[in-house]
């Protein structure tokens, strides 16, 4: 896999980061709760390392700054929806600046279990303003690929019940109480999350993967896509603003001259 710069931000530049220096690949695995993302990340990591790539894998609330605070906040009973959204965004920014960007500078393949899209979907499912959260998380780097593991709610329910055997408070959106018990709330909340992700799929050029199939079949799909990433670079996402495009074309001109 040949690795090529530059990556770019969606619509907000982070101070102190020069995208031209980012030589790695940024690969996102997205999807609702219990869809099997972490299984795929683990398999992909093993495979990529066997292929000789240095891999960083990261995910929500795993940052050194805010990870612990988020876990503590979720144990209490006072975490409001806007506060939660911003706490997760703080953690994301910390991981972006302190893990993801340094790894990309060093030429790593960064595999991330969820990205800004989950933060947005959770906010939107809780009734927050879509444009607000899109702009708040607008400092995210545009990944080389976003794989959206998609399954319907029935499938998620069976995975939760057969797998873990119990519903989780936050995965069921019980902070908002979408239903009067965990099952009903889970179904309503996850339906909202899936709907929000479906809407994003077009806008952010997700590659949708049918996640109701056996995990090996999903893995083979992902492998094939990732092997072809070199030619399938995501460019000109409709989201990127005029400044970024201008910068890009200037860069292209410079490259053409030299």
């Amino acid at each position: 896999m040949q690795l090529k710069p530059p990556l770019q931000f969606y619509n907000e530049f982070l101070p102190g980061i020069n995208c031209e220096e980012l030589h790695g690949k940024l690969i996102v695995i997205e999807g609702p709760d219990a869809v099997g993302r972490s299984t795929q990340v683990a398999k992909l990591r093993q495979w990529l390392e066997q292929e000789g790539h240095a891999v960083l894998d990261t995910g929500m609330a795993r940052g050194a700054l805010a990870g612990k605070g988020i876990k503590q906040a979720k144990e209490g009973n006072t975490l409001g929806p806007i506060t939660m959204t911003l706490y997760y965004t703080t953690d994301f920014a910390d991981r972006l600046e302190n893990q993801i960007v340094p790894a990309l500078r060093a030429g790593f393949v960064v595999l991330t279990d969820r990205y800004i899209f989950s933060i947005m979907a959770r906010a939107i499912a809780r009734g927050e303003d879509r444009r607000w959260i899109e702009q708040v998380t607008g400092f995210g780097l545009v990944p080389h690929a976003v794989y959206y593991l998609r399954a319907d709610v029935r499938h998620l329910v069976s995975r939760v019940v057969l797998g873990r055997g119990a519903f989780d408070f936050w995965e069921s959106g019980m902070d908002i109480r979408f239903g009067d018990n965990m099952f009903d709330s889970f179904v309503k909340y996850q339906t909202k999350l899936i709907r929000a992700l479906d809407v994003m799929a077009k806008k952010y050029a997700f590659i949708t993967v049918d996640a109701t199939r056996p995990s090996d079949a999903i893995f083979r799909d992902l492998q094939e896509h990732i092997s072809n990433l070199e030619i399938k670079r995501i460019r000109n996402t409709p989201w990127i603003n005029a400044t970024v495009r201008a910068r890009e074309s200037n860069g292209a001109k410079r490259r053409a001259k030299s």
Partner: protein, 243 residues
């Protein structure tokens, strides 16, 4: 188009802004005592005081882990927690909420750290627009004189040491506070500050504030805002919660 949504609650929101050493905390404290003595239900909220976020902020500061972006976001998280859990419910109940610093502190401070103006304004869009915002205007040297005279050490992030403006803490503090001052001055019209000359005596400033409160909020304080009858005032303990 105003950036923040107008206050649609029964209660009122009064905020004070200004650089460190402008005397705003003294003034909002005097104002809140006065309002309480008039029988109003008064709540008080301070910048960077949410218990939910405290440990994270402390960890970040102690180990110098913050970047301009995470510094901005953790303060917004703190503000969101106070807003969702404290400021909004109390305003709904009809209290006058007095805030020592508000979203405008982030507009000034985060931008002085290099965060985009547009981004930080959007970040705080969930905040209620205050009924009154006081800005304590003070020359940099006066403010710095007050700070250096009153405390023994300026803290790392307060001085903007994270930006490597200068190796000298005092010099860094001066440059950083200067930038914040410029941002405040530039937004004064945009956000509708009532400007108070913070070089005047404490008493004069307080008199001005009270006059503005009566002039601007006088009639609306009669409807909806929670207030005790003068007779009841001794019966109930008037100490209020501080968050």
């Amino acid at each position: 188009m105003p950036l923040l949504a107008a206050n649609r609650f029964k209660g009122k929101l009064i905020v004070v802004e200004g650089i460190d050493g402008s005397g705003k905390s003294t003034q909002i404290s005097l104002l809140s005592h006065w309002l309480r003595s008039q029988g109003f239900a008064v709540a008080f909220s301070e910048w960077n005081s949410s218990p939910l976020v405290r440990e994270t902020t402390r960890r970040g500061k102690k180990k110098a882990m913050f970047t301009p972006t995470t510094f901005s976001l953790i303060h917004a998280t703190d503000f969101a927690d106070r807003t969702e859990r404290y400021i909004v419910p109390l305003m709904k109940a009809g209290a006058i909420v007095c805030a020592d610093r508000y979203a405008f502190t982030a507009y000034a401070r985060d931008v002085a750290r290099g965060v985009s103006r547009r981004w930080v304004r959007n970040l705080y869009r969930f905040a209620t627009r205050p009924n009154l915002s006081f800005y304590f205007r003070v020359p940099l040297d006066v403010a710095i004189g007050r700070i250096l005279g009153g405390r023994d050490a300026i803290k790392y992030y307060e001085a903007g040491m994270d930006m490597q403006l200068s190796r000298d803490v005092e010099e860094s503090f001066r440059i950083f506070q200067g930038r914040i001052l410029d941002e405040y001055e530039a937004m004064a019209e945009e956000v509708g500050f009532h400007i108070v000359d913070a070089t005047l005596s404490i008493e004069k400033q307080q008199r001005q504030m009270r006059e503005i409160v009566i002039r601007e909020l006088g009639d609306s304080l009669k409807n909806g805002v929670l207030r005790m009858e003068p007779g009841e005032m001794h019966a109930i303990e008037t100490a209020s919660a501080v968050l």
